[in-house]
Assembly symmetry: C2
């Protein structure tokens, strides 16, 4: 029972079939001249055109990278480099680590974090103030947050950045394939694994007017050494499948999340976080007072239920979540559900039955006060 579909998801039958076709037809290096390679290149170009179509971009302005992480890194590095004389990056406080690390690396730490409110929305007044200083190289704002699901108000944000002539880099790595693609950006980044494609592909789309400079050794190549052709083909098919079924999946998962949010909010000592309306359809996160996050995940795992956690993304960094801290939420005993389209009502029911029992047991074991 996999309820951690944020950044990865089981591959659908159609995606696996596309992968297999890609292994058979797209194994050759697409950069060479003969028939086998031209066939690989045609598959890659077809996938690129599908991504461009999904994002409202031109294929020649869509770049592929071997991960969303590297895609974010290169787009921030490239746009920053083209804005000579401006040496500060604005980023929301709840951007991904990849974005913030890249921004700090490229500006020697000259990054201003834009605060967010308790639902996770960027402070627009603060953004407007910061944009008045003419030293801003770019602004990085997510389309939607991978931990709490909140969607940013990109229309208002893009109005401000456009008026200041500051490029807006939109991280859509948690949203593509789940909600309609963002319309307002100067650069946008997506993550194939998040929409049900295989891991190992990030995509970047740029506007024709977005200037960038390659600041990496291999010139204008965004994917030095190339990307996997079968993986890219499978990613395009997975995205297509998500887009075809988006309306019904959205309605179904949104209702399921509403049901989970309502139930969880009724449990004692549980905070449900993120915007209840302006949100991703499939993400829901809550924190449980007096409960250890790792123990919670492990207990659920023993029941055969896989969930994520803002405070337990990797086994090595069980630190309180920066995103939850930024919205002023309780950050321990944190559970994040990511519902992929295959999740059933029965699975949600089972989770809602198991979860309060485990929380009560863990609190009892920890000698927590009554709530």
């Amino acid at each position: 029972m996999f309820l951690d579909a944020s950044g990865s998801a089981p591959l659908t039958k159609r995606t696996i079939e596309a992968f297999q076709a890609g292994l058979a037809e797209g194994w050759a290096d697409p950069a060479r001249l003969h028939t086998e390679s031209r066939r690989s290149l045609a598959l890659l170009d077809g996938a690129r055109a599908a991504f461009a179509d999904a994002l409202g971009a031109r294929p020649e302005h869509v770049h592929l990278a071997p991960s969303a992480h590297l895609a974010l890194e290169r787009v921030i590095a490239g746009i920053n480099a083209a804005r000579r004389g401006r040496d500060r990056i604005l980023a929301s406080a709840i951007e991904r680590d990849a974005t913030l690390h890249a921004a700090r690396h490229m500006t020697a730490g000259n990054v201003t974090l834009l605060p967010v409110d308790s639902l996770g929305h960027v402070d627009l007044d603060r953004l407007a103030d910061e944009l008045c200083v003419p030293d801003v190289a770019l602004a990085a704002v997510q389309h939607g947050n991978h931990e709490i699901g909140t969607l940013q108000r990109l229309e208002a944000i893009a109005d401000l950045t456009a008026a200041a002539r500051v490029p807006l880099v939109v991280d859509a790595t948690a949203t593509l394939g789940h909600v309609p693609a963002p319309a307002r950006w100067d650069a946008v980044v997506g993550n194939a694994a998040d929409w049900g494609g295989p891991a190992g592909l990030g995509i970047v789309a740029l506007r024709p007017s977005t200037r960038w400079l390659p600041v990496w050794p291999e010139g204008d190549d965004w994917a030095p050494g190339g990307v996997s052709v079968p993986g890219t083909l499978a990613a395009a098919v997975a995205l297509q499948e998500r887009l075809e079924t988006m309306a019904t999946t959205d309605a179904r998962l949104r209702a399921m999340v509403d049901r989970i949010r309502t139930a969880a909010a009724s449990w004692p000592g549980v905070d449900v976080v993120g915007d209840p309306d302006e949100r991703l359809p499939h993400i829901v996160t809550f924190s449980c007072l007096y409960v250890d996050g790792e123990a919670l995940l492990t207990s659920l795992d023993r029941e055969g239920i896989a969930v994520g956690s803002g405070s337990a993304c990797t086994s090595s960094t069980l630190e309180p979540s920066r995103v939850l801290a930024s919205i002023g939420a309780l950050s321990h005993g944190n559970v994040r559900l990511g519902l992929h389209p295959g999740v059933t009502e029965a699975q949600a029911t089972r989770f809602l039955e198991v979860m309060p029992r485990i929380v009560a047991r863990l609190r009892e074991q920890a000698g927590a006060p009554a709530l």
Copy 2:
């Protein structure tokens, strides 16, 4: 009839089966805590142990990267950064572009190219002289060359670099899985696609004593955003298969290449290049006077024969090959064969029958003088 197996090859049945098993079992993000992710991590760790074993390294010193290109880039950047106060890189004149671009990028162009002789062997006297100057951050020398097949004399080279206490970075991206792994290196890089694995994986192995510093935004992570678990599993299985069959494949392909070398050398106006003995078993390259390289490749492709070319690696850069220029060979009308283990004697025979006919026709069309 695919005779361009240098950097890519058709996947074997066993490799494809491993890939499919990986898609079924290894789709989850290996960096999370639950059962699905631990299963992915176990597959990744198993593959890493197999690479370590093949290279004679410890698993904890084997790093995975999303391409051999990025692996070369990061190992050169990381080792260079740890050698503060030394700001020059030595590299053989026939290293890959990825190596030379990275070296120039990291040293602001302070790269000394070591000349090679007419068979492609690095000039050892020149290397010794350069190592006398105490400004050398590292030396980058290939195990074997991807275009001409010559194997470097790494024992002698490593004796010199070790005496000078200069780290030796060995590019084994054209050799792993074809000949025994090199024994002498401080860092070594391999390319999964070259040994018949899927594209999208480079590996780096370091000695425990090799110092490096992360000079990229994501700290000590060599593969920001991760690598494909199914692809890595398939790469390990492909390498295992190559190692198991190496002795018989080597003997068979070596004899086939000898046959092709002898035949080609007897054609008028044809130069066969590279060391005839100290070489990769599966690579053979020759150049044809008065023949256009692209026309030659296209004509062979029309006959259903895919070959490579030192001067036609990509459709966009039909420039004379730097490697062929370095050994003083004719660089136009260049054909490189890379024979994968599935190539048959009948295919070699057909190539030897078709090739002289096409060369003669192209020369006639170009009005070339008699040879």
